[in-house]
């Protein structure tokens, strides 16, 4: 029997005093494509960092691919936020992808590689690049690529080690609309081979290609459905409901729109129990 990709029980985490995440429970089966939505500061990225073993939970248990976080090495592919790499770094596309093959621990630091190992790395990197459709760009400097292309290079770096689980932190932030669609199509395709967890505050990306949605705002609510209902939307938007336009979810195209919400909206950012009830009522 296969392990669930992720098992979280009664997890909490605090930076200093206040709990950023509290009473989080989640069981994610292998092969799923989970979108993690929620307001900024709601704990989405913290959840991802916990899964990667970059921070330790305050309490509760957490297993990733049946192992403790941080022990999984290349079994997890990770796409950090767009801003984590400086734009001018002197590196070729192929070189950047090959860095995804670095070994954990001190053995990964050594500068010297045998020619055979070097060749194997090169081939693996080229294969990953062809999966994201950028094999012809391998020799170019990374900084010469467009934002969308660069994001695909980082996806290639994440999948070059053949991971079983792909963790993506805001993959569609700072790329244009067309690249966004291409990225989502690519991720759907990758989902055939691996479980994907995608953190996003852009709800337009959650359109059909995901298999379930988790709303994170200190607590976590896992909805086993791939479409946004008004209730999930309200939960995901949290206190920022007025700042986000729900029409984006159903409107495709370029028609300008503006919807003013009712001010009398007592439960748009209320308690989780209320949302659970609404879920049942609003689910299609």
């Amino acid at each position: 029997m296969q392990h669930p990709a992720i098992t979280i029980e009664n997890l909490w985490f605090a930076y200093g005093g206040a709990r950023v995440l509290d009473q989080v429970n989640l069981t994610l089966a292998a092969g799923e494509f989970l979108a993690v939505l929620g307001p900024n500061g709601g704990g989405k990225s913290t959840l991802l960092r916990l899964l990667l073993g970059l921070v330790r939970p305050g309490g509760g248990s957490l297993k990733v691919l049946g192992q403790d976080p941080g022990q999984t090495g290349g079994r997890i592919g990770y796409l950090p936020q767009f801003t984590s790499v400086s734009a001018n770094f002197p590196i070729t596309v192929l070189g950047a992808v090959a860095l995804g093959l670095v070994q954990p621990g001190f053995s990964g630091l050594a500068g010297w590689l045998s020619p055979a190992a070097r060749r194997a790395e090169r081939e693996a990197a080229l294969l990953a690049l062809s999966r994201v459709g950028l094999a012809d760009q391998a020799g170019r400097r990374l900084s010469d690529l467009s934002g969308g292309q660069r994001q695909r290079v980082f996806i290639a770096r994440a999948i070059v080690s053949g991971p079983e689980l792909l963790l993506l932190d805001e993959p569609t932030a700072s790329v244009d609309g067309k690249s966004r669609q291409e990225l989502m199509a690519l991720l759907s395709e990758l989902n055939r081979d691996m479980t994907i967890v995608m953190v996003s505050h852009d709800m337009s990306t959650v359109d059909g290609c995901v298999t379930s949605i988790a709303c994170v705002n200190r607590s976590l609510h896992h909805h086993a459905e791939s479409r946004l209902t008004p209730a999930i939307f309200a939960q995901a938007a949290g206190v920022d409901l007025k700042a986000t336009c729900p029409v984006e979810l159903v409107a495709h195209g370029t028609v300008p729109h503006r919807v003013l919400l009712d001010h009398d909206h007592p439960d748009c950012c209320g308690g989780t129990h209320r949302h659970e009830k609404r879920d049942e009522g609003d689910a299609p």
């Binding site: 990667l52 990770y78 984590s84 001018n88 590196i91 050594a110």
Partner: protein, 271 residues
């Protein structure tokens, strides 16, 4: 130029300048791509405490300063370990504290300290043979360490967050890099002085960054650029009777401005 080479002090100066160029090319590139220029500045200035300590104790300057600035660098590495962005205040304090300590120790040292300025602005034209040997040894050590851990340094420099997620010991690499910066700073103090170290650590790598397509290429190109600045600067210093460190930096700054005006190779091809 040829007549200048006839003097031993000039040959020593040239060798010291070339050694500093190689080391600045390698370490400066790492400093620039890791965005730790301010941290390197802190190490450079704090190392003045080591100069003061050496004079106060009556010990040889280069070894004592190396030990002192390595300690200062490891302190700063520790402070900046988990939040590189939020620790600039502490770096600023250590920066000033090191310099103040150096000056106070020099005040307490009996006798007239004519050498004080030479550590601030360089005294490349007075590098003795013994210092040159020590500089060569330290340079070799820095290069070997950087080469040994080059893969790790590359992975961390490119994307520390990703490196951490893959279990790469980024904390160790951070300490290693700061230690290398400390040794590099001490080597370069002789050439341009600790106040001007920053220019040699940042200008050539900045010029090289846009034109190289690998970190190793960036290091090579910035070492070559540094060497050119050192040779031209030294010659001008000899010919026009100027302070050597300041002449080298002046040449580097002219090169910097020219590189901003000239398009990089790739941009030329594109247009």
């Amino acid at each position: 130029m040829m007549d200048a080479l006839g003097f031993e002090f000039f040959r020593n100066a040239l060798l010291a300048g070339l050694l500093a160029s190689v080391i600045c090319g390698v370490i400066g590139s790492l400093v620039v791509v890791n965005r730790t220029v301010f941290l390197a500045g802190g190490v450079a200035h704090a190392s003045y405490g080591g100069v003061g300590l050496a004079f106060f104790l009556g010990l040889p300057v280069l070894p004592v300063t190396t030990a002192f600035s390595t300690c200062a660098a490891l302190c700063m590495a520790w402070v900046t370990l988990d939040s590189r962005e939020r620790s600039d205040t502490v770096i600023g304090v250590l920066w000033a504290a090191g310099m103040a300590l150096g000056i106070i120790l020099l005040d307490l040292t009996p006798g007239y300290n004519s050498d004080l300025m030479s550590y601030l602005f360089g005294s490349i034209l007075a590098v003795p043979q013994s210092d040159l040997v020590l500089m060569a040894g330290l340079s070799a050590a820095v290069l070997v360490l950087a080469g040994l851990f080059s893969r790790g340094l590359l992975v961390m420099s490119f994307d520390a967050e990703f490196a951490r997620s893959r279990g790469v010991p980024v904390r160790f690499l951070h300490f290693l890099l700061m230690g290398l910066v400390a040794v590099c700073v001490v080597l370069v103090i002789r050439v341009v002085g600790l106040i001007l170290v920053m220019a040699l650590l940042t200008i050539p790598p900045f010029m090289a960054e846009r034109r190289a397509s690998s970190l190793a290429g960036m290091m090579l190109l910035s070492a070559a650029l540094s060497a050119v600045f050192c040779v031209v600067g030294l010659y001008l210093s000899y010919a026009l009777d100027l302070t050597s460190g300041a002449s080298i930096i002046a040449v580097a700054c002219v090169g910097f401005v020219l590189s901003l005006l000239l398009p990089s190779g790739r941009e030329r091809i594109a247009s």
